[in-house]
């Protein structure tokens, strides 16, 4: 598998989607036969995915919203997205 770069625009694979569970007040990734809980940080990142927007642009937006060095944010975002691509939850 080719590694994820900041120029890629990943999106959810069909069969997986992010949604807010209003009854339990939490974010979830709906998946075949299960729902994975997305922690609040992951939920913020995943809400920015639309399959068109680049990872670089997502990182830039997060930099404008959170007080942390770009390098740190980039590292966390790339780790999160790569892990989900490996699990086929996201696609390139």
């Amino acid at each position: 598998m080719t590694p994820l770069t900041e120029q890629d625009s990943p999106g959810f694979t069909r069969g997986y989607r992010l949604q807010h569970d209003k009854v339990r007040d939490q974010w979830l990734i709906q998946a075949p036969e299960r729902a994975l809980i997305a922690d609040p940080i992951a939920a913020i990142v995943l809400q920015l995915l639309d399959g068109k927007r680049s990872v670089a642009s997502i990182i830039d937006e997060l930099c404008s919203r959170f007080d942390a060095p770009r390098e740190t944010i980039a590292h966390d975002v790339m780790a999160l997205l790569s892990g989900l691509i490996e699990k086929r939850v996201l696609r390139l």
């Binding site: 694979t13 069909r14 069969g15 949604q19 569970d21 009854v23 709906q30 075949p32 036969e33 729902a35």
Partner: protein
């Protein structure tokens, strides 16, 4: 009585119909099948889904019988999607063609579980009671792939197909399925009636375990392996525990904690035609009866596993020990465990058995 700590349900099994072109002798439907005239109409199913979403249900499994026998299936899927419910279709695939596939796709279906009896064509015909069933399933799988809907292959394991487990995995990889369910037959209802013809021997079970382990080591395919209760030391947490995660709606609208619950005598079940889903989940006698641990007899009541297996399966306790409120006899600590040992000893019998196919009672 409302228990304040009761969590909302996660999943709803919508058994749209008991009608099915197949007649598998291990069908999970009850022996007493519900007829078409008793089925809920489209409007009621939509209202039930509205209530389910409101209650906290996240996923709806459209099942049957064969759910594709209902012409309003597409409308119901679209409605569920509109409510942000995750939609899963559990189907035999024999009614999938390019038109019905397009309609499922357009309705927004999230995932399909396609059931298989075997890899061997003749055996698949024999088990399903349906001529040339395998080519139709393979064509269905091709159409599902073409539409891009993720697929799980569901194989039901029994003594006659265990030797072909490696070929089942091969098919899953050829079809690029992400998941495969390898579920040993669970012996309730129709399967219990056919236990002697289906239950594998201990050696066969070890053979099955070896195949599954070898495939897991290869990676790249999620395998959901369901072992047969009869060879376990502890029972499984049936439905994740009574009234803990699942709500099952029968074709006529009865709300059940599990699909076999209606076998329990003297227990009445509310119908969604008359009672709201929320009231059924939190207040009904049927959902509260075996919920949690306070109902438990010994040896469950003082057992460390009581919140792991929740006492096992009530319907199995009834079927094998005669009462639904006893410890599941699968447990080696059950005073009735001998019944299970006897069944396992009988499974060594290799004489051909007549299959009792599922059918509507006359």
């Amino acid at each position: 009585m409302t228990t304040p700590t009761v969590a909302p349900p996660m999943s709803m099994l919508a058994e749209l119909t008991h009608r099915c072109p197949l007649s598998c002798p291990y069908c999970s439907n009850p022996l007493e099948l519900e007829r078409k005239a008793q089925e809920l109409d489209t409007r009621t199913w939509k209202r039930v889904m509205d209530e389910a979403a409101e209650l906290g249900v996240l996923q709806v499994h459209f099942s049957g019988g064969e759910p594709m026998a209902r012409p309003d299936l597409y409308e119901l899927i679209a409605h569920a999607r509109h409510l942000n419910l995750y939609t899963n279709l559990i189907t035999s695939g024999v009614l999938i063609n390019s038109d019905s596939m397009r309609a499922l796709d357009e309705a927004g279906l999230d995932h399909i579980q396609l059931s298989f009896q075997d890899i061997d064509q003749k055996e698949a015909d024999r088990l399903s009671g349906f001529k040339e069933v395998q080519p139709r399933k393979l064509e269905a799988a091709r159409l599902i792939n073409e539409a891009g809907i993720p697929i799980t292959l569901n194989f039901v394991l029994q003594k006659h197909n265990i030797s072909r487990i490696p070929a089942m995995f091969q098919l899953a990889r050829e079809l690029d399925a992400q998941r495969i369910e390898m579920a040993h037959t669970q012996y309730y209802g129709w399967a219990l009636k056919n236990r002697l013809a289906l239950l594998p021997s201990p050696e066969q079970l070890q053979e099955a375990d070896r195949y599954v382990k070898a495939e897991e080591e290869k990676g790249g395919l999620a395998i959901d392996y369901v072992t047969p209760d009869y060879y376990a030391d502890r029972p499984k947490p049936c439905m994740g525990g009574w009234g803990r995660r699942f709500i099952n709606i029968s074709p006529s609208g009865r709300a059940l904690p599990c699909h076999a619950a209606e076998t329990i005598p003297h227990l009445s079940f509310e119908n969604v035609r008359e009672t709201s889903l929320s009231s059924i989940w939190y207040q009904s006698e049927s959902f509260n009866l075996f919920r949690g641990t306070t109902w438990m007899p010994e040896p469950c009541a003082s057992c460390d596993h009581k919140e792991v297996d929740w006492g096992g399966c009530r319907c199995q306790a009834l079927a094998l020990a005669g009462k639904a409120n006893l410890t599941d006899p699968i447990c080696t600590l059950s005073p009735f465990h001998k019944v299970v040992e006897t069944a396992v000893a009988e499974a060594q019998n290799t004489e051909p058995q007549t299959l009792h196919y599922r059918k509507f009672s006359s």
